[in-house]
Symmetry: C2
DNA sequence: GCTAGACTATCAATAATTATGATATTTAAA
DNA sequence: TTTAAATATCATAATTATTGATAGTCTAGC
């Protein structure tokens, strides 16, 4: 079985054009490299270097093998890096769940930075409705959740307030509600509300529907799609509907009551007592700072 | 520097779930594997196997490293395969030049088979006008050429007849020539011919133009494009123009003389005296048989 | 054309690593 | 409980790699 030490000698000697220089760089004696290359040539049955001149030059065959040798070395360095990552107690993978309405460009920026800081930690990014996120975090299936706050504080989960997102009531421009002004809660009742509810059929308690005939989606984007089809009205993040309000496709509903929170708090959630490795810590802090900076 | 032998032990032991089984497979004694794994663990600073039970089971850390270890082994096998390919005197790369009108599906089929037979030989496939192919083959820049035969036999190049391709004179359906019947050579003279000529400005001698005002292209597809634009008429391979004749966009020209070859021979060309490795030989034979079978 | 410096191959001796065989201990199944 | 098979450990043997010295060769500079 071939030795990586010899492969390294091949690559270094080829780059430096000298066995002696290679030996110096490896902290060995010249004859060690000479022997190493020679043995490699014997093992492979291929003459790698042309020694007729003073400085050994790769043969065409050696050239052909060099590319593969470099890839092999790179792979072995990768392997060692992963081992180092493990000894630093970095997690092998982090699973984060984000409410789809919070999948902002900020998040991708942070993930890009994370990839640089922890190149050997994988990320599972799953998109869930806020009501589902607490459950998956509590179950331990998700390490960090980014979600709209629930009033009922789950005892198994730690919350960390990081900011808030403005919600507005919107409907299609041709929807009956669009024409009306200064509406009260009871005015909305006759019309179907589209709201978010998780797969466990638990609706959010901050944006709870008061209409008797509601439809439910598991993502804000689905809600948006139904609103565009004039199936009903909905509370949606301002940033999500802004572009369509601008083009006139959707319209904000002019509601006068304000006992509903228009600014919905966003929390970072983690399983209570979960041991946090460096990657977890880093990502948690980065998310916290990013959302604070965003407003 | 880590040893591939130990990496192999890691992978085999993980797959077999047993150090002893791994040792048997490697033709070593059990203690060798035990030591090998142990040393690897010490080098990496990572506990790879959980030995509490009878059969060692990978730890989560070991699991994480296993994937990378397998990739590393695969890479090293690849390296050795290339070395074997070299000792079999297989060429590192073959350059083949094909007249663009001969780039048929048959060719891709052959190349797919070639890739299976010689996975470590690279292919440079370049598309040239037939008049240019002889020159590049003679220069040694191209190993095998597939082209329409030239009358003048180049002394530096070996020819091998493999079949023929039918050419027809065509023009756009609205081109003046389209309406005429039973034309003679002199009838074509007033109209511009579009013909193929290599970058060295040498036209093919089998499809030489007799019109005084010709335009030249370096590929049959370019010729076709100009004919479609009613810029002139041209001799083109029947298979190339057939679809457009069928839709009525182009029309065959009804010429009565037949001293021009309508069926143009196709030759495989190689540099005379060039040493042919196994890959060259294989590809040459495959091309020869394919073109013979095609008609 | 010659010399100094630097390069490589080779060799024998030595150091280091790796493999072996025997043994004790543990484990899972009969 | 017993048995068969697995693993860890250890001293020893075998193999492999490293070293230092030497001789031959090439190139640049004078």
């Amino acid at each position: 079985m071939l030795s990586l030490e010899q492969i390294n000698m091949l690559v270094l000697s080829a780059e430096l054009g000298s066995f002696s220089a290679c030996a110096r760089k490896l902290g060995k004696v010249q004859s060690a490299v000479s022997h190493g290359i020679n043995n490699l040539e014997i093992d492979l049955g291929v003459e790698l270097f042309d020694r007729t001149s003073r400085s050994p030059k790769l043969t065409p065959e050696g050239e052909r093998l060099l590319r593969s040798a470099k890839a092999l070395l790179a792979q072995s360095h990768e392997f060692e890096k992963i081992a180092e990552s493990i000894t630093r107690h970095e997690e092998g993978a982090l699973t984060i769940a984000v409410d789809d309405a919070l999948l902002t460009p900020y998040l991708s920026t942070i993930l890009a930075l994370f990839a640089q800081a922890f190149p050997h930690v994988e990320i599972d990014l799953i998109s869930l409705a806020s009501p589902d996120i607490i459950a998956t975090v509590a179950d331990g299936n998700v390490d960090i959740g980014v979600m709209f706050s629930e009033v009922e504080a789950n005892k198994q989960v730690d919350f960390c307030y990081v900011g808030s997102v403005d919600f507005v009531a919107v409907c299609h421009a041709d929807f009956p509600l669009a024409a009306l002004r200064r509406l009260s809660e009871s005015d909305l009742m006759p019309y179907r509300q589209i709201a978010v509810r998780g797969q466990q059929k638990r609706e959010s308690q901050v944006l709870i529907s008061m209409t008797p005939n509601a439809w439910w989606c598991s993502s804000n984007y689905s809600v948006l799609a139904l609103v565009k089809q004039q199936i009903g009205w909905a509370y949606l993040p301002l940033s999500l509907v802004q572009p369509f309000v601008h083009t006139g496709l959707l319209q904000k509903i002019d509601v006068t009551f304000d006992h509903k929170p228009w600014s919905v708090p966003v929390d970072l959630v983690c399983k209570k007592g979960a041991l946090r490795g460096p990657a977890h810590q880093w990502l948690f802090d980065a998310l916290k700072n990013a959302f604070s900076a965003e407003r």
